[in-house]
């Protein structure tokens, strides 16, 4: 068995499942957003703000944000282990990606619950 410590869930199966589930969640969120924009052609601040006042929308948005972070981590981790053969380069790249995703998640929570 091949061992790893930097992949998302320590097992290839869990990474694979997470990649699929997060993709479905992101698809649902995208379809919802596109539908929302189509139903509200003259979108103003009040309607946009009202949408995100709803707790359900905030939960859905946070779910999508976490899915995006997990999906991006699994994908970019795979790319880095495919193409970056020097350990130092790979580790630095993975650290930068992890840090960036962490910052986006915290920032996203602040945006969703801050207003």
């Amino acid at each position: 068995m091949v061992t790893n410590i930097t992949n998302f869930g320590r097992s290839g199966l869990s990474d694979w499942l997470m990649q699929r589930i997060s993709a479905v969640i992101l698809l649902a969120y995208t379809l919802f957003m596109v539908g929302f924009f189509l139903l509200n052609p003259n979108l103003d601040y009040a309607a946009w703000s009202a949408l995100f006042q709803c707790t359900l929308m905030r939960i859905f948005s946070l779910l999508a944000l976490l899915s995006l972070a997990a999906h991006a981590w699994i994908g970019l981790w795979t790319v880095s282990t495919d193409y970056m053969k020097a350990t130092g380069v790979r580790l630095v790249f993975q650290a930068v990606v992890a840090l960036g995703l962490f910052a986006y998640v915290v920032w996203g929570v602040q945006v969703l619950w801050g207003a």
Binding site: M1, V2, N4, N7, S11, L13, D82
Partner: protein, 234 residues
């Protein structure tokens, strides 16, 4: 006249590999690529390539013909030649020993890793372990693999991680033993494959299916392995 361009490399005398051109007279016949190679060897005795049965059974002469992997002995010129030119290269991704001969060690290591033999911890019966015809049918499309390496060396995931990703050929064989009713080591076999590389580096691009000279489908076998892993772990 057929223009044949062959990959040449002799590590004892050449600093770098190069392509050498030959003019081959096929006498208008639709020869197999292996026959053309024999004509090339008549012109240059030093040409190195592997061949044995010359009828698609032994899997020795896997090579890259005009960009696509296949067995030279069962590939007619009409199938690969474009614009009167034939380009022959060794199987991609493996170290070249000389000319069209590659070092298959990495490929065999992955094959060895999946334990390509029946494991059964129940007492051996007096004569043989029987299978129903239905159980035997499940091995069709799996056991026919001749280990020519055409599939694994056409797979980018195998090119990038030949030490960790089992590759289409090895995984086809892994499934062949996972699904065999006489094998009792299913759980152990699955546990050995449940990491991010061994199975899950397959991105399903199906290069393996498009090049297999035996018409086998490793991508489908990999899908079945994934289903078994999922059923076992959820």
């Amino acid at each position: 006249m057929l223009q044949v361009s062959v990959y040449r490399y002799n590590p004892e005398t050449d600093k770098a590999p190069y392509m050498q051109d030959f003019e081959i007279d096929t006498k208008g016949k639709d020869l197999m690529v292996l026959d053309v190679l024999a004509l090339v060897k008549e012109k240059d005795n030093g040409m190195a390539y592997r061949r044995s049965c010359r009828e698609g059974v032994c899997g020795s002469d896997g090579m890259n013909m005009n960009g696509k992997n296949g067995l030279a002995c069962v590939t007619p010129l009409s199938e690969v030649v474009k614009g009167g030119k034939l380009v022959l290269r060794p199987l991609p991704g493996l170290p070249v020993i000389r000319d069209l001969v590659v070092d298959m060690s990495l490929f065999y290591q992955q094959y060895e890793r999946i334990k390509p033999f029946l494991i059964n911890d129940t007492p051996a019966p007096a004569i043989e372990r029987l299978q129903t015809p239905e159980e035997r049918d499940k091995l069709d499309g799996l056991y026919e693999c001749i280990l020519c390496a055409c599939c694994s060396t056409s797979c980018p995931s195998f090119w990038w991680n030949p030490d960790k990703f089992v590759g289409p050929s090895g995984l086809l064989q892994a499934y062949r033993f996972l699904i065999d009713s006489r094998d009792t080591a299913t759980r152990e076999r699955l546990a050995d494959l449940d990491d991010p590389f061994s199975v899950f580096r397959c991105r399903g691009i199906m290069n393996c299916v498009s090049v297999c000279p035996k018409g086998l489908n490793p991508t489908r076998a990999i899908g079945h392995i994934r289903d078994m892993l999922l059923a076992n772990a959820t």
